[in-house]
Symmetry: none
Subunit: 413 residues, 2 copies
C-alpha cells in the first residue's frame, strides 16, 4: 500500500501556518506499514485540489486529504473530491444530526452555513468528528483505492484518526515496516557516510543518515511481508552499522544526549552540577527537560560575568587576567568550583565565545572550553565551532558537545 497526503489551505501554502498534519499522518501511516510517497500542499482552489487528487491516484492507493471542510464558502475539499470522481454531493442525515447536536449541546442556534458540512459525496462513508462540526469521509473509490478526508484543525484530525480511520487502514495494510534510529555524536556526517556507504546503497533495509546540532542519526527502515523477517533484516543491518560506528554511538530513537547522561547518572547514583558561561543555562535547561532529573540535578549556575566566576566559583582573578575567561584554565576552575560549591559528585564548567561579536584572531567566535571533573580526575576539552554560525546555533552545538563529553566521562567510570 502506498499513500499520499494532500493538505488543503491557503494558510499552509502562504506559510502562515506550519503544516504539522502531514508529519503526524506520515508517522501514523508508517506505523501501520503503509509507505507515504509524497506530500502535496495546495490552496483552497477547486482545480488545484482536483489536480492533486488525480495526480496522487496515478501512484498511490491511499489518498488522505486534510483541510477545506469548514462551513465557509472558501472550503471546497468535498466538492473537489466529488467532482474528481464524477459523484455529486448529497445531504447526509447522520452528519447533519451530529452537527445539529454539536450546537444543541452548546445551546447555540446552528448557523445556516454549517449545514454545508453535511454534504457528502454519494458513496462515501462519514468519519464522525467527536469534537468539531466537520465530519470527514472514508471512500473506497475502487479495489485498492481509498480516499480519506479530515478537517485541517490538528486536534480534530488526530482524534478522528485514532477513533476510526487508523483501525480501518490497519486492516487493509499488509506490509510490515520497522524503523530504528541509531544516534551518534562526535564525527562529521560525511565520515559516518563513508563508513556505511555499502549499506546505504541497499533498498531494504534502507539506511540514511541525518544531522541535527552535531547529532548524526542513522535511520534503518526495513520491510517484509513477515514481521519476523523485517525485524531480522533490521537487526543484521543494525549490527553491521554499529560494527563501524560504535565509538560515536550513544542511543536509539528517542534517546537524547541529556536522557543518556541522566540514565548514566542514575545508574551510578551520581549528582551533577554545571557552571555555564557561553551556553547561558541551555545545558541546565536540557538536563532538566528530563522528568526525574531532580534526582541528580540540585544546583546549576550561569556565571556570565568574571565577578560571578570569582565570587561564586572561586576562579582565581589571576587565571582570568593571565589566560582570559575563555581558556582551559578557567574551564577547569569553573568545573572544580561548581563541584565544590554544590557538593555534587561531578562538576561541569563551560566557557566560550557565542558571538556574533567578541571574537579575536587568537580566540575566534565558536571557541569553547569544557571542563568535567569528579573527586579524582578532571578532563578539559577544546571545541572550535564554525564562527559564522548564528549565536543560538553555537549555543546549541556547544551544549551538545558538553553533554557528549559528559556522557563519555560517565561511560568510562
Amino acid at each position: 500500500m502506498i499513500a499520499e497526503i494532500i493538505c488543503v489551505g491557503d494558510e499552509l501554502v502562504l506559510g502562515e501556518v506550519l503544516n504539522t498534519n502531514a508529519q503526524f499522518l506520515s508517522k501514523e501511516l508508517l506505523s501501520l506499514g503503509i509507505d507515504c510517497k509524497k506530500h502535496t500542499i495546495v490552496k483552497d482552489k477547486l482545480n488545484d485540489i482536483k489536480y492533486a487528487i488525480n495526480d496522487a491516484c496515478k501512484t498511490s492507493n491511499i489518498i488522505i486529504l486534510t483541510g477545506g471542510l469548514g462551513p465557509t464558502d472558501d472550503d471546497i475539499t468535498m466538492q473537489a473530491i466529488a467532482s474528481t470522481f464524477d459523484a455529486y454531493l448529497s445531504l447526509n442525515q447522520d452528519a447533519l444530526k451530529d452537527i445539529e447536536n454539536f450546537f444543541q449541546a452548546r445551546n447555540i442556534k446552528m448557523p445556516v452555513s454549517n449545514k454545508k458540512q453535511a454534504l457528502i459525496p454519494n458513496g462515501a462513508t462519514i468519519l464522525k468528528n467527536p469534537i468539531g462540526t466537520a465530519p470527514g469521509i472514508l471512500w473506497k473509490i475502487k479495489e485498492n483505492t481509498f480516499i480519506l478526508s479530515f478537517p485541517g484543525i490538528p486536534y480534530e484530525m488526530i482524534e478522528m484518526w485514532h477513533k476510526s480511520a487508523k483501525n480501518y487502514l490497519k486492516n487493509i495494510s499488509s506490509k510490515n515496516i520497522i524503523i530504528k534510529n541509531l544516534k551518534h555524536f562526535g564525527t562529521p556526517e560525511a565520515k559516518i557516510g563513508e563508513k556505511i556507504k555499502d549499506l546505504m546503497e541497499k533498498d531494504n533495509p534502507q539506511v540514511a543518515p541525518y544531522v541535527e546540532n552535531g547529532t548524526i542519526r542513522i535511520r534503518i527502515s526495513s520491510h517484509n511481508e513477515s514481521k519476523e523477517k523485517a525485524e531480522a533484516l533490521l537487526k543484521n543491518t543494525e549490527k553491521a552499522i554499529l560494527n563501524k560506528t560504535l565509538e560515536y554511538f550513544y542511543g536509539y530513537d528517542n534517546d537524547t544526549l541529556e536522557s543518556v547522561v541522566g540514565d548514566l547518572l542514575k545508574k551510578y547514583n551520581l549528582t551533577l552540577s554545571t557552571a555555564e558561561s557561553c551556553t547561558g543555562g541551555l545545558i541546565s535547561s536540557k538536563l532538566t527537560d528530563i522528568s526525574g532529573s531532580s534526582e541528580y540535578i540540585k544546583l546549576n549556575l550561569v556565571t556570565y560575568s568574571n565577578e560571578a566566576k570569582i565570587n561564586m566559583l572561586n576562579v582565581e582573578e589571576q587565571t582570568l587576567i593571565k589566560h582570559g575567561a575563555v581558556s582551559p584554565e578557567t574551564a577547569e576552575e569553573m568545573a572544580k568550583g561548581v563541584q565544590k560549591l554544590s557538593g555534587c559528585a561531578i562538576g561541569l564548567g563551560i566557557t566560550g565565545i557565542a558571538g556574533p561579536t567578541g571574537g579575536t584572531t587568537e580566540k575566534p567566535v565558536g571557541l569553547v572550553y569544557i571542563g568535567i571533573c569528579d573527586d579524582k580526575k578532571i578532563n578539559i576539552h577544546k571545541v572550535q565551532l564554525n564562527s559564522k554560525l548564528p549565536r543560538f546555533k553555537i549555543k546549541a552545538l556547544a551544549c551538545n558537545y558538553a553533554l557528549n563529553y559528559l556522557r563519555l566521562f560517565l561511560t568510562k567510570k
Copy 2:
C-alpha cells in the same frame, strides 16, 4: 510571478522531521510579492524529484528546492535538476575551494565524499553557503523560469536566502506586498480574535492571528501596485488593531519577549539575576540568546533542590516546610535571595511543577509562581498552565509568562 516549493528528503515524507523550510520560504516569497502556488514534498528518489520539477514548471516561474545536497550518496537533488533539464554535472572550482576552506578552517581533512557537493549543473550559478559545505544554485532555465536549490538544513538555507537569493528574486518581482507582525502576550487568541473580527474579514490588508507558546502574533499583509499605497494601508490597519490590543502588545516582527526585556534593561541601565526551579535554566538561556546580554546578565542560578534554595538564596527552611517549594512565599524569597546574592538591580524567582509527575489536587502540574523584585518592591504572580501539556511545553510557557511579567515590571518603572 508564481512560485512552487519542492522539499526533498525521506525524513520529511516519513514524518521524522517537521517541514519548517516550506513555511519560511512561502512567507519570504510573499514578502517579495511572489505568490506561492504549491508545496511538494518528495523522497530522495531521482524520478520523484524530476517529476515534481517538471510538474512545477508547467505552472510556476520560480521553482525552489530544498534538501538533498548532502555529501552522502542518497543526496541526489543536483543530479535530478541536471537530468531534468538535460544538463550534466561538472565540478565547480569555486564551490570546491569553499568546501576545502571549510574543512581547512577546522583543521579537518576533507572527506572525499564532500567533493561531490561541488558538482553543479552546467549553466547554473552557485549560491555560496557561508556556514555549511553544500552550496546551492540559482539557474535561469529560460526567460521567466528560475530554479533555486538550497540545503535542507534550515539555518543554512535561511542564511543563504538572506545573503543572496532574496535580493535576486526581489528584483524580478513587481508586486508590492508589505507584511508586519504585531506581537502580543497575556490574553487568549479568541479574545484578540473577537477584538479584531471586523479587520480579519477584509482582504487587503489581510489580518490573521497566530499563537505560539502564549504569544499571539497578528500578521498584517497589505499589497498594492504602489509601495506607498501599500504602506499607508498597512499603517492604518496597524493603528486600528493597536487601538484594541495595546495593553497586550509587546513588539514587532523579530522582537521576542527576551529581546524586549533586554532593551528595557539597557534603557534603564539595570542588571537582572534569575533563580529558576521548574524552568531549569530556560529563562537564563533565553535571556542570553540576545547578543550583548552580558551587559545586564551577570549571574543566574538554577536552584532545583530545597538545599540549593536554602543555601544559595537563603530561602527559610520554615517557608519550604510550611508553604512548600511551589508557593508564592518561596517565589518571593527566591527573587529577593538571588537579587541580594548577585547584587543585581532586579531579581526574578520562579518555582512550579513542570510535570508530568509531582502534581497534587491542591498543586496540580502546571502551577507556577513567579516573583520579581527590585530594592523597592516585589510582585508575585500565580500562573496555572494546562496540566495535560508535555513537560517541555510547560517549561516554555512558564518561561514566557515570567519574561512577560518582567517586561511589565520594567515598563512600569
